[in-house]
Symmetry: C2
Subunit: 172 residues, 2 copies
């Protein structure tokens, strides 16, 4: 229950933000709930991937990115898409090349760049896993109505935009 006065104080005139210690308990609880949901689902998916296919979640995620890019991606692209560090991708790719799921080659036009693709084996295995994976997700969300799903999509889009804006404020 945020006091209505807080909003009024925050909006008044051109003066700098009022220094009243505000109550942000609701946002904090929202963040913890968001984190709980993600951790719960992520753990479940991780376990099923391991049990059914003996594959890790990061490997699956990387293959998912590549499946959408038949012409391959650079390591930087992958790193941005997966929102993980560059060094992380290096190791992940190493292991997937080793196991025959990925093909990696140096770009001919820019020798800094490594382009990676799924191999035939990699694509086949990924498709097989992805089909089952989709049913797991459907089951995990199965109590939500189509309207719930739409509404969540909308609110999470707004959340994402808000967080990106906030992050940009700190790192202009």
């Amino acid at each position: 229950m945020p006091a209505a006065s807080d909003c009024i104080e925050m909006l008044d005139s051109e003066t700098k933000a009022v220094e009243t210690p505000e109550d942000h308990a609701e946002e904090l609880r929202l963040w913890l709930r968001l984190l709980t949901c993600t951790t719960l689902i992520e753990g479940e998916v991780r376990g099923r991937l391991r049990q059914r296919f003996d594959v890790t979640l990061p490997r699956f995620d990387l293959m998912a990115q590549l499946d959408k890019a038949p012409d391959g991606m650079t390591l930087s692209d992958v790193s941005k898409r997966m929102m993980v560090s560059n060094g992380n991708v290096t190791g992940l790719v190493e292991r997937l090349v080793e196991s025959g799921h990925l093909d990696r080659r140096t770009s001919e036009t820019d020798r800094r760049v490594q382009v990676i693709r799924l191999t035939k084996l990699g694509r086949a295995e990924f498709r097989r896993m992805a089909a089952e994976h989709e049913t797991w997700i459907a089951d995990l969300f199965s109590d939500l109505t189509p309207k719930d799903v739409r509404e969540l999509m909308r609110l999470l889009a707004k959340t994402k935009a808000s967080a990106q804006k906030s992050a940009a404020r700190r790192r202009p």
Copy 2:
């Protein structure tokens, strides 16, 4: 765009689920968006904790759990609350005891059990960090209206319940 026929087929009579390969693209997109939001916010919080306080996110999370339990918690409790493995907690606690933030002692009534608490230093540092942390979260979610927050809370509660049910189906 899910075909309306899918829903009709699923609901017809008592027959077992129809084997039509269904379209769960919406749920999949929802899951990816949820994951994106969490990753984005988590990364932001992690970076700020490191820059401002030179502390890692898992250490902060563990201290947050203990701050809510003045009489201490067992490692198992912490592990369940944080939704991480037991072994993970062991190492985390080790480092926080080493740095003087945690106190750890064997329970007198059950010698298997380790009870951990925040030290005076640990509590003071945590409170300092938590105050700032709360403003970061508020800022990250600042584009959401109070109504958005309430609605998200409600939908995520439903999501959590759905996922827990699904997980329980596989591991009864």
